[in-house]
Homo-oligomer: 758 residues x 2
Amino acid sequence: MLSGYELFAGGVESLDYEVIENYAYREEQAQRSKFWVPYYVMLKWLFSLLIGVGTGLAAIFINLAVENFSGWKYAATFAIIQHSYFVGFFVYIVFNLALVFSSVYIVTNFAPAAAGSGIPEIKGVDTHGILLFRTLVGKIFGSIGSVGGGLALGKEGPLVHTGACIASLLGQGGSAKYHLSSRWVRIFESDRDRRDLVTCGCAAGVAAAFRAPVGGVLFALEEVTSWWRSHLMWRVFFTSAVVAVVVRSAMNWCKSGKCGHFGSGGFIIWDISGGQEDYSYQELLPMAIIGVIGGFLGALFNQLTLYITKWRRTYLHKKGKRVKIFEACLISLVTSTISFVLPLMRKCSSCPQLETNSGIECPRPPGTDGNFVNFYCSKDNEYNDLATIFFNTQDDAIRNLFSAKTFHEYSAQSLITFLVMFYSLAVVTFGTAVPAGQFVPGIMIGSTYGRLVGMFVVKFYKKLNVEEGTYALLGAASFLGGSMRMTVSLCVIMVEITNNLKLLPLIMLVLLISKAVGDFFNEGLYEVQAQLRGIPLLDSRPKQVMRNMSAKDACKNQKVVSLPRVSRIVDIISVLRSNKHNGFPVVDRGQNGESLVIGLILRSHLLVLLQSKVDFQNSPFPCGPGILNRHNTSDFVKPASSKGKSIDDIHLTEDELGLYLDLAPFLNPSPYIVPEDMSLAKVYNLFRQLGLRHIFVVPRPSRVVGLITRQDLLLEENGNNVTTELQSTSVRGQLNGKMLSGSTHLGHPLLDSIVVEE
Amino acid sequence: MLSGYELFAGGVESLDYEVIENYAYREEQAQRSKFWVPYYVMLKWLFSLLIGVGTGLAAIFINLAVENFSGWKYAATFAIIQHSYFVGFFVYIVFNLALVFSSVYIVTNFAPAAAGSGIPEIKGVDTHGILLFRTLVGKIFGSIGSVGGGLALGKEGPLVHTGACIASLLGQGGSAKYHLSSRWVRIFESDRDRRDLVTCGCAAGVAAAFRAPVGGVLFALEEVTSWWRSHLMWRVFFTSAVVAVVVRSAMNWCKSGKCGHFGSGGFIIWDISGGQEDYSYQELLPMAIIGVIGGFLGALFNQLTLYITKWRRTYLHKKGKRVKIFEACLISLVTSTISFVLPLMRKCSSCPQLETNSGIECPRPPGTDGNFVNFYCSKDNEYNDLATIFFNTQDDAIRNLFSAKTFHEYSAQSLITFLVMFYSLAVVTFGTAVPAGQFVPGIMIGSTYGRLVGMFVVKFYKKLNVEEGTYALLGAASFLGGSMRMTVSLCVIMVEITNNLKLLPLIMLVLLISKAVGDFFNEGLYEVQAQLRGIPLLDSRPKQVMRNMSAKDACKNQKVVSLPRVSRIVDIISVLRSNKHNGFPVVDRGQNGESLVIGLILRSHLLVLLQSKVDFQNSPFPCGPGILNRHNTSDFVKPASSKGKSIDDIHLTEDELGLYLDLAPFLNPSPYIVPEDMSLAKVYNLFRQLGLRHIFVVPRPSRVVGLITRQDLLLEENGNNVTTELQSTSVRGQLNGKMLSGSTHLGHPLLDSIVVEE
């Protein structure tokens, strides 16, 4: 078994969706009162509600802070440049630098896992430290600094991670380290329950970031969960609805002006309902071109960021925290300089004729955030088109790019300048040690070239009712499709943030083209980054070559390390030390002396047993039943997002090393098995669809005990096919009865007693 | 093995998502040229395109026909009642009766599987006759008759079925019976490929019926497929986009007036964007009440239709076609009478003051379809509120109920009358032998009580900006939620058909409440109906009792019928005759004489072999490899939606009965296996998630050959963990080489050669 997690850098561990049906689990199931299930269900829903509220509030807090910081910054800068460009520039740079420095300082010194968007990390595996309380705090405050500091990154990805953190912390009943944990809510003890909460959290994050509840549900479906069950969908749906209500309430409250600069800005929702309502067939060609451009630029973005991230990981970031801080500050300086100096070098344009009832003024009145920024332009009827997109928060810039009824607002030269500069900045910024989302930069890039194409369309098809803003929207969709390769969820998110359903088929078309073009070159952004970080994501379908391989081929270089049912402690220790496997088959002798595999024991469970020592016994024979009440399931629960125990933490005396341990009560008696000649493609499907962590490859069976078909699984709950003695309480009685008789004729007393033969 | 399909009435058969890796399959895989995969992928996408175009065109055809028939009917009736009520009534009744008769006649005599909505039948199993060409034709023309004939049913469910039929027919390369089949497109031979196409078809149907492409994707996800893979999502998405474009193009073409009465009506898309934009917290209570009402009435609807359908199945419909035809005609008469006479008995109301720029006129001008129907009212400023909803097509009625800026258009009395009558009609109509959808009747019922609640809200909260139409929309959502219990897809469909994203959180809230209330009483409409028809749908999660049962328990009453590797024909025949099992384990002797299970052979494959006879051999020893080219995979493909072969179709001579058949090349060598003491809940998950048809329950294995973990499945396509000899062509060489040497030391030559040991 050469496999193991030594290959996964950064302490990544697979999640285990499989329920470990060991004795402790069955015992606890049997002991549950009849109120347990309603309590459990109620708590699940309560947590969904709390996740929604928590994520909604976090989103509002971040948006409020960012909008206010940005508001102060731009207000101060605009006021000062009336007198001196240089002082204005200096204030602007220092303001940005302070915010970025605070962000990178928090992240590097306090919450290293808060860097980046966090989305690749929460996709189906358990990365150590990614869902801690400190990560949550670091993410929230780091986001405020990095986004408020004007870097080319967004706050949406981090918000998804924030939602996941909130969910995970709720699931483990608070943070143990900060004494916020409560016993009675800690009933979500399996990986599966925890994972479901994290899925809810991710959906809540998307719903809050984009105010797109349906998009959130779909995002969770498409990107986060590796094993989706339809009853989970309902809970995710509920969480998203709660977020929508919380965010809306807060925004209504802010309308009264209590939130400072937050108000018209913040919360990317770009209502373009005043724009183009319809499209004609001539427009499909330029739209397809936008899709192709998006595919190219998106794939290029993935490739460039891959190279840069590789370089950072191998050279730059190994040199310590200071280099990371210096790097982020340097990028902040460059970004500030470019966004200030470039508009200065651009000539002012004179205001166009605007319809009086369009609600747009040119130049915009001082103190507002909107279109037609006049920047340094002194005259009353002039504005600076580059400043309108560059010297503005990204949300406002996008709104301006998407805006309808503003033909020829931007010159092609300005758009191209902005595209090149911002694309470069986004590539360089990606991977610095600050919380960073890719959605908003992606939308910025995409809408810029989209609007460029739109300008040409407006010029060439003069008779059509074409809006440049519509093309900007399609450009944004195309870049995100080309880079992230999501389809349905991205489409719904785009529709929800622009609040315009009529463009749905066009967005679909553009997304399909850009994803297809992008797939031609490389994998999606999250997949590329996950690979680089050693996060083992499995594709949704098996590789072609697996069809011609068997299960045996996949493990042909392995040496299986088994443990006997009753093992000496010293042997267990030496097995644990000699390899890094996370699961071991347990073998016993059957009635006739033949060997029998009785189950799988996890390394983590062995470590718990070795540390607690209560189950050690003197005799090398199977234990009686008395031992079984010393543990309950929660002892075996993996502490969420901690490093877990290590063999080096176990300290045993010489005497203890000579004792024995009966593993039978603690093992998973029925892991999934496959015959050795099953094709690896089928094994892959089993593994992927059920979210497993270990599969036993076994020899071809000698006989078939029975066949299970759909009909056999259509039991009526009230016992059509089921004898009522099989209810939980009586099973427990039989269990204990058999255990007392010490029957071991099949090497596994638990199993015999569960399989009630009549 | 007492299981079998004798319990499934109506010839339902489970689908098999498992790839049967028998020799013929592997051989065919190996023989494929390098162009096969691109060709296969291209064809998949081409078919997705064709499904989209086909379903879009079918939807347009149905809508055109229905709108025109209805248009002529109402125009004629309105013209005649100016002179004589009685003649008008007579014309109206005869027109409806003729349409309904045509529908029920087509269905009963030509396409019995076209009755009903068809949605329960296409949910994850294969019901005989449900996807035939005749069913498609019957569904389309039957729908036109039943909907055009004014019955209380909709055309949306049938359209989903239509999409599925189109997809299935494409998948089998046309209809064999009608000589429309073409060989070169018949490469979709596994259940899985076919099923994927049907999923696309369903999504296309929803997309076309509601003009809701995203809703279509989600519907397919939530309702249709039992095993979802994310790469399928992309294809479904594409199909939906194609439908959206096709439908839009056709509607644009119709705007020029070439489509008769089709134009403003048809295609339920109720743009209520002029309505309520916002909501206040006081409104949440009445909205919650709507949710509760929806849950109650929806659950009641499911229960009543269950009773009536049971009664129909056991008494009425057993009496033959004539009774079915008579029943449908009787219901048509009753419906026509009620919808004509009730408005007549209602006094005319005088027109309210309407805003001049609202675009609504009262009464509506003659010859148009819209609000404020004047019916028999003679005066120019009067209208009949009951006629506005009753004496109108359902699409127009819903649009009127949803309409904003029309306060107090309906009296409470009229709405209650309509609710009671229409609810009763919908219950009675459900289950007649005509194509019938439940969406539009559900929306009618829901929007009626929704508007009633809205009237009270308008009265009590006078200060708020409340629209009755918004409450009608929420009512519609609540009834559908309470009856069908879909959540996410229904929510998206409602948003897409009303084209108003702002109400999304409200729709979510109402849906969650109504589903919760409904679930308290019974299961969803489709589940109830599927159960009744013996369609074995598996819940998404295992029943609680399964946790305490083992795999062995589920098959404890079974007697496993195995076949030896080389069987005498007469033995095979007798096994096939003696039971109704659909799969048989095949057993062989291993090297040391021990028995070994070498695979599973399907009944259907045995029948193919028995019928073709080419593989019969004289000797009772394993065959050589020469035989293996006589069959290719397509011989074993189940003809889509036909009864399949039966043992009674096989006619063999005495001599032939004495011959032998080697089953090894034709069996599935690696069905999924579970140890006998695995809990049934885990078996259930395996079965459900992978869409299986048979699982072998086997004794506990004696040793573990290897463990497969995530790491083992992270192969690089270019051979990081994989030796390149394992590519398909060389495997084939080894396969043949070994086959020629006749090695059978493990009882299964194929397997040995695939598992290349180094």
